[in-house]
Structure formats: C-alpha cells, structure tokens
C-alpha cells in the first residue's frame, strides 16, 4: 500500500493505461462486429445475430471509454485539456460516429422496413470504423509528437494529425479490431455466420499480421517508443499472441482464439503506454514541453482520493461486468433477439 501512495502519479498513469486497455479490448470487438456487419451478415437473421451478440454488452463497454476520459480528467487534467481541445475535430468525428452507432443499435430492428434497417446497418459500419481509425491515429500522434507549446496548448490543426505513421496506426487499429470482432462473432453466433466469421478472420488475420510487422518497423523509425525495452517486449508479445490466436482459429479452437486476440489488444496498449512513460503527450516542438505525469497531474490530495475510489470500485465494476458476460455467455439464438 505504501508503495502505491508514494508514487501516485505513476499509479494513475498505470490506471489510465488499464482503462484504455479495457476500452480497446472490449470496444475493439464491438467496433469489429460493426465494421463486419454489412459484409459478412448475408441476411437479416445473420445481421441480427451479430448485433444481438454485442447487444447486452456494448453500452457497458462504451463506459470504459467514458471512464478513461473521466479518469484522465481527474488525474491528468492538463492532458484532458490539451488532448481534447487539440484533437478537436478528430474527437468530433469520434463522437458523431458514436452517436450514430448508439442510435443504430437501439433503433435498427424496431421497424421491419428494409430501407430503415439497411440505413442503420451502414450507420453502424461507419459508426464503428471511424472511432477505430481515429483512436488509432490519436494514439500514433501521442507517441510521435504533436505541436504543443510551452503553455501546453496544441497549436496545429486537423491535418497536422495525419502523417504516414499516424495513418498506419489508425489502419492497424482497424485491422486488429476487425479480426477481434470476427473472432467474437465466431464464438457468439450459430450456423453459417459463425463459420463465415472464422473464415474471414483467417484471411483478414494474414493482412493484419503483415500490417503489424510494418507498424513495428515504422515505430522504430518514426518514434522513440522502443527506447523503453518494456515497450518493445510488449509489442512482440502482442504479435506472438496474435499468431497464437490465428493458429487457434485455424484449428477451430475459436474460444482460445478470442482470448488471445484480447491479449493482443491489451499488449499493444501496454506497448504504447510504456513507450510514452513518463510522458503522456509528446511535444514535437520541444521535448521539454511534452506533457508528463509530473507537469500534467492533479494535486496529491485529489490523486490520493481517486486512488482510494479506484481501489474500491474498479474491482466491483469488474465483478459485475464479468457476471454480465457470464450470464449472457451462450451463443445467440433466434429466441433472444431484442435489438
């Protein structure tokens, strides 16, 4: 306990990393399901199976993103201020997409009209693709560096955010999430759609693996993240997990395949956070202007308070979310279509 309360800024860096890892792991597969929906769902039953497979959990998953945002505000208010005012239009794209996505889940199946449903299926696709891509771009920017001045203000614009490296990050996020979503679909649905999802994962997985290797090489060239050995180790573990996941899927152990694709997402997140530490947003103008766990954090009092809160509530949240997943662990059948 004493170790925890003596290094509160480090602790909160870790907690924020955990929240983002949880967010990417959980929303990763429901973004993936959304991106795959119009392509591998060949009829309405298949599409409804896919949507209902994430039905009881997508909203709870989304709260991981909200909590990651709230926790960043509470523990590193300057990061919250710089990141969201700086990546202003990018964040707008994410929010607009997520609004369309949330509405699509609720509204899609409430009317049995083909045009209505088709419209919301494509909104689900866009609403899942955009946040996956833009969050990838955002993570790439945090590590590669953005124009942040001495007052911690971002002085670039939307186009500053798009470089070959950050676009590659965005693309990698999209590819990994599609694979992750395909694995989830293959374990949660029945019939042709489950098999089609597995087959898609196998083909798409090869492209994803190639993308991951390019990203690994590009990260050596474009960023300093691998100066931290832990970051490199986590990245390599992520790639190994991904290969194991693919092999599991190949031999029809899709349950293990999904577990290892979860691990892939978690280790990629760890790789980026380890590469950032002790910085949170890198300044491309002057390394001294980067936002760090020291110059961007809340007061010791607030961090202390929030640590106690997190120690109590994070385990409780995990318990009932696991209960929820356990309760709804069965594959989707036609009797349980609420969306």
């Amino acid at each position: 306990m004493e170790v925890i309360f003596n290094h509160l800024d480090v602790v909160w860096f870790v907690i924020v990393c955990v929240l983002f890892a949880g967010f990417f792991m959980l929303e990763g597969f429901d973004y993936g399901v959304g991106m795959l929906l119009p392509f591998i769902g060949k009829n309405d039953i298949e599409r409804r199976q896919m949507i209902n497979s994430v039905g009881p959990v997508w909203d709870g998953n989304q709260v991981w993103m909200i909590t990651a945002g709230g926790a960043t505000f509470a523990s590193f208010p300057n990061v919250y201020a710089t990141l969201f005012s700086g990546f202003y239009l990018a964040l707008f794209l994410i929010l607009a997409a997520l609004i369309m996505r949330g509405i699509s889940f609720e509204f899609r199946s409430k009317s049995a009209n083909r045009t209505w449903r088709s419209l919301f299926d494509w909104l689900l696709f866009v609403g899942s693709l955009v946040p996956a891509l833009v969050w990838g771009v955002a993570v790439g920017n945090m590590i590669q560096g953005t124009p942040i001045d001495a007052q911690q203000n971002f002085v670039g614009n939307l186009f500053t955010l798009f470089s070959p490296y950050t676009l590659l990050c965005g693309l990698a996020f999209v590819l990994v999430f599609i694979y992750h979503g395909a694995m989830y679909t293959s374990i949660k649905t029945v019939g042709a759609i489950a098999e089609r999802a597995r087959a898609t994962a196998l083909v798409e997985g090869v492209i994803t693996a190639i993308g991951a290797l390019i990203l690994l090489a590009a990260s050596f060239v474009c960023t300093d993240m691998f100066n931290n050995g832990l970051s490199l180790a986590a990245f390599i573990i992520a790639i190994v997990c991904f290969i194991i996941s693919w092999i599991c899927a190949r031999v029809r152990h899709t349950g293990w395949g999904f577990i290892f694709s979860c691990a892939t997402v978690i280790f990629v997140t760890i790789a980026y956070f380890a590469g950032l530490f002790p910085r949170i947003m890198v300044s491309s103008l002057n390394p001294a202007w980067s936002l760090t766990i020291t110059n961007a954090s809340s007061s010791p009092y607030t961090l202390h308070l929030m640590t106690i809160v997190a120690l109590i509530f994070v385990p409780i949240v995990l318990l009932y979310q696991i209960w929820n997943y356990w309760r709804f662990r069965e594959r989707i059948s036609l009797e349980h279509l609420h969306y």
């Binding site: 009881p56 709260v63 709230g70 607009a96 609004i99 949330g102 049995a112 009092y301 949240v317």
Partner: protein
Amino acid sequence: MMDALILARWQFGLTTIYHWLFVPVTLGLTIAIACMEIAYVSTKNESYKKMAQFWGKLFLINFAMGVVTGLVQEFQFGMNWSEYSRFMGDIFGAPLALEALTAFFLESTFMGAWIFGWDKLSAKAHMVVAILVAIGSNLSAFWILVANSFMQHPVGFALQNGRAEMVSFGDLVSNGYVVGQYAHIFTDGLMIAGIIIASVSAYYLIREKAVDFYRRSAKWGLTFAIIGGILVMGAGHIHGQYVTEVQPMKTAAFEALWETQQPAPFTVVANINEETQSNSAALNIPDVLSLVAAGNSDAKVLGIKDIQKMDVQKYGPGNYIPNVTALFWSFRVMVGSGILMFIVALISYWKLRRNTLVQSKGWLKVLFWMLPFAYLANATGWFVAEGGRQPWIVYGLQKTAVANSPYVTAGDIWTTIIGFSLIYILAAIAAFYLAIRCIKNGPQGNDSHDVAAVEEEAKLWK
C-alpha cells in the same frame, strides 16, 4: 461573425439542453419501473410485469438518446473549455470520474441485463437488476450535481499552483448547494416521469385501448406526479432561499428586482428594460418576494444595482449582471409549467378516484397535453440554473470569458455545432417516430421475441 467564445457557449447550451431533455425522464422512469417490478414480485400480478415492460420500452428510447448525447458532455469540457479544465480539473474531474465508475457502469451494465434478461433471469433477479439501474441513474445525477454545485458555490478548495485545488472532498460532497439542487432534481425526475406515464396513458384512454392497463398506469403516473410535485416545489422553495443567500444576483435576476427593497414585492409579469435597468407595466404583489425568498414578509431583498456595486468592490471592475430578461421569463415558464402540471395531476387523480376520468375525453386531452410542459419545465430549469451564474463559469473564481480553448477557432466550433445539430435533429426524428410507434403499438406490441416474426423479417433481404 460571432467569436469563438460566443459559439462555444452556444454549443454548450445546445448540446446540454438537448441531453437534459432526456435525462430527468430516465431518472424518474427507472424508479417507476423498479417499483412496478417490486409490485410484480410481491403480488405475482402479471399486469405489473406488462407495465414494467411497456414503460421500459418507452424508457429505452429516452435512455438511448441520453447515452449518446451524454458522450458529448463527457468530452466537451476538454474540447471547448480547456482553460476551465486546467483551472478546475483538480476538483471537477473527480466527481466526473466517480460518476463513470460508480454510476455509468452500474446503469449501462444492468441496463443490458434488464433488456436481455426477461427470460434469462428469475423475476426476483430481474427486479434487483431494475433497482440497480434506478440507483445507477440517480447516482449519476448526484455526482454531476456535486460538480455543478462547485461551479455555483465553490467550497473545500484552495487557490494554489495557478489553479483551484481540492482540499476537502467532504466539503465538496456536503456543499449546501448539492443538497438543494439534488433534492430538486431527484424529485423533479419523479414528477416528470409521472406526468409522462399519465399523459401517454391518457392518449390510450382517449382511444379506449387496453383501458384497464392504462387506467392502472395512469394511477401510477398521477401518484408519482403528485408526490413528486409536492416534493419538487418544496425542494425548489428551500433551495431558492439558499440561492438568495449564496448567489443573490441570481435571485435578483430571476425576479428582475433592480432596486433593493424592504419588503420586496413579487413581480408576476413586467416589461423589462435592461438598458435603463428598470421595469414598466409591472404587475406586483406586495411583500411576497420577501416572504418566499427570505421566509419573512418584512425582509430586505437585495436588488441587481446594489449587488453589482458590491461585486465591483469584491471582484474588481466589470459587469456582473446576467441576462435578466431571459432569466425572468424562463423562471416563470419553469414555475408556471410545474404548477400547471401539478394542478392537472391533482384534478385527474380526483376524477380517477371518482371513476369519471376514463369517460371525460375532454379532460384526458388536457392531461395528454401536459407532455410538452414536462420538457419545457426541465429545459428552462436548467437554463435558469446555468444562465443565472453568468458571467461566472465558476462563481467568484473564473469568468466564462477566459475559460474557453484558446486555439479552437470559430470555424472549428461552427463545424461541430452544425455537425452535432444535424445528427441531433435526425436522431430526434428517428426517436420520435419510434416513440410514436411504440405508443401506438401499445402493451401488446411486437417484442421481436417471436421466431416466426424474425424469420419473416429475414425475407426482407431476399
């Protein structure tokens, strides 16, 4: 060309009011639905289950809109108000994170279980899930009001390291402003939910559909509206007296009271002139403002001009007067809508007890048309609370004019205002269409549980 500050304020106002249209409904409806499930478990009467399911469906449409519009709330402090976030983050971030950790997770996780759990959970377990959703909803309102109350009446802080830092979390949570605001909002949720249940029930009773079901629902709705109504007025009254003490300018602006008066009259309506700082054609009731705002018909109530002078002495030169005309009228719309809904609910309940409600089609129409007033009261209530705080973003500590993001341009904000507005309008049309369909289908409406129906719908793709 409007500058970035004005646009940022418009954007905050638009997105927050829009969010706020859906939230109070969900606060009270979750409680009503939990009560219906408790009634179902304790009496085994199937009609309570049907009620929970039907009103639950209507709730879900509101909830979905609340969730998606709430996403914007979580991030826009950073997007448009970065200077505010830097200055206030040490204090403001904590309740926001607490809200996500203790309330949003609870609400959203169990909401999923609620929707998908009807045939997977026992009636008792489902009831517990409904209660947890209600706790989650109302707890989230508590944390956000802890954050908002600090902006209205800062306590438990110290100005150090160039920002406001928290020194006592206990003070933050036990802020007198939290108590009054929360009591007012919590009870408002009950009343609004009651009005919505009663007015939608009235719609069916007019059409003589499922009369037993909707008579019973109307009774529930009216009970909620009356109990909630008494409490919301009481809480509002007590909170109003507290506001007069800690934010005298807000009360004076609500009442367009330019001069300090003892005793002060209550101005029912007036033609307000902000240029000359005076009212004309005012309809005044003597002594009433003193009685209401200070609890004593002979009390002195400070006027806007005097408070302005005091504020200049305290905070330096500047204009400390909010938009008096807008506040004066919004306050009257809020209070007027509340009283109107309360009276209609009382009369309807009386008619229900005498078994004449179902037959009085004319009166049912009146009850039905209380629906828009519920939304109107909420929107104006939010406006007076926030508009009355201006020009401060954090009362006495930071002005709104210096709180916005310095590098976010007017063009950026125009993009997001137009973008969000378009999406919100389209979402509202879709939600409205579905709510109407849900209401038209009634309690026997298609739940999509039916395998045959699903397979029939699958043919859409062939």
